[in-house]
């Protein structure tokens, strides 16, 4: 199962309207689609994702999940954060099962599924290890297993590979793509890497900053499965060029815009960027 999402003129202001984080955001996400939110730091892409997760609320407009307005975190939602958020006192397996325990589900019933997920990510041998004994890549793999444990219809990923080294990041891109092909789950993926967005996505919502809005939606019409080498093909690099031009072409989206930077940036914008 997968869920469709509709954003209708979504806006989010902070500090009684003094800071506009998001403005006039409207787009649809089809069931089973992989959509990336791509943009520079501080463009509000994480804020938007938190609104979709029901953790934050838009101050204007609505977000509909299968035609129902999101007011609290939806049932069939999985989330992966930039940091793995594994707890130190539990083994990898128990960390994955924590998602079930939060939901009050039977641990024992979900144990085989948790083991199967760890197996798929090559972590079966480390199921009884603690997070602090493992590498960053392994930890983030476990975080993805935890998000997938309760069979989400929609998976939200907030720069999940942002803290990893380039090689681990490539590995995880390939693994994520493989997993997405075997499930019908809708994925919304936040990133500031153009390459990563093109490689993974069906469509990319390119965002600009201050106020954050969607500048353009790019459909990535590259065939699947996509091998990593595809990133060097002309078709791929054309997408990179086009998106880069979209981001850089817009005045105001540039980081050094004197008119906008004369106003000191409030600290909350920094918090939202993370």
């Amino acid at each position: 199962m997968s869920a469709g999402l509709a954003l209708r003129d979504v806006g989010r202001v902070y500090d009684h309207g003094r800071i506009t984080a998001l403005e006039h955001i409207s787009f649809d996400v089809k069931p089973g689609e992989f959509l990336s939110l791509l943009g520079p730091s501080g463009c509000g892409k994480s804020t938007l994702l938190r609104c979709i997760a029901g953790l934050d609320h838009p101050t204007s407009g609505t977000i509909l999940l299968d035609n129902r307005k999101i007011t609290a975190p939806p049932q069939k939602l999985g989330m992966v954060f930039q940091r793995d958020v594994l707890v130190d006192w539990r083994t990898l397996l128990d960390n994955v099962l924590l998602a079930a325990e939060f939901r009050g589900l039977d641990r024992r019933a979900l144990r085989p599924r948790a083991m199967a997920l760890l197996e798929r990510f090559g972590l079966a041998a480390f199921a009884q290890r603690h997070p602090w004994e493992l590498s960053g890549g392994m930890r983030q793999r476990a975080a993805i297993c935890r998000a997938l444990l309760c069979d989400p219809e929609i998976l939200l990923m907030d720069e999940p590979f942002g803290a990893l080294d380039a090689m681990t990041r490539d590995d995880l891109n390939v693994e994520l793509m493989r997993i997405c092909q075997t499930t019908s789950c809708t994925v919304i993926f936040v990133t500031h890497s153009i390459t990563e967005a093109i490689y993974l996505s069906d469509r990319i919502a390119v965002m600009s900053a201050r106020p954050g809005n969607v500048q353009k939606i790019v459909a990535v019409e590259l065939p699947r499965p996509r091998p990593l080498e595809m990133r060097e093909t002309p078709a791929f690099t054309n997408y990179v060029k086009a998106i880069r031009q979209t981001i850089e072409g817009r005045p105001g989206a540039l980081p050094l815009d004197p008119a906008r930077d004369s106003v000191p940036r409030p600290p909350i914008m920094g918090a939202m960027a993370s």
Binding site: P73, Q75, L77, M79, R83, V87, D88, W89, F102, R103
Partner: protein, 254 residues
Amino acid sequence: MRARFLDWAIMALIVFAIVTIWQVAVIVFQPPVILLPAPSRIWLDFWEAPSYFLRNTFYTFATTIVGFALSVVLGIVLAVAIISSRILDRVITTLLVLLNSLPKVALAPLFVIWMGLGMEPKVAIAVMLAIFVTVADTVMGFRSVDPDAIALARVNQASPWRILIKLRLPSALPALFVSMKVATSLALVGAIVGEFVGGSTGLGFVILTAQGQFDTSRVFVALVLLGLLGSILYHIVELAERLFVPWHVSQRNG
């Protein structure tokens, strides 16, 4: 395991060295017994009436343990109340700060008037002394949970109760154990203060009567027993810490 044995050996050696220096100093400088008795003299004094000393030590031990346990349990309950409601936070914090600002020694006679000469006023004073640090550290522990972990719990439909049990409590454990180490000694202080003020049992009472008779050696017996008692309590908490939070950075080997 070997490293652990070595730790204990070093500790014993340090104690032995201090006792030896003390003994030698008394032999060399010959201070009056009323000022500083030799360790050998203190030891002999203990052996004159071991059951008397042990009975009183046990009484102080029981008071301290009950006071300590109550302050930990009450402390956790109050900490949960503080983090769960802004109004409760205001009320409890105001009362605790007020209570903590009063010198507990000054309150002790009042507790004796209210509760009599039994164990109750001593336990009450021990709790009053030990509870503040427990509440403060536990609240801090509860509040230092990773905000992303809370977000993760909420995305997974966790109720506030489940967030408390599955996230807040385990992540507050390291802070709780630190506060418990401090609380053992504070509870011991509370017990002794209570015994000074009223009653006729406990190491505090032993010290008070020995002082009345200028029996310095007996004061020292009680002090040594108090030191042992405090150290044992501390190490029990430390042992529990190793068992319950082996995952914490401070407990990992190597």
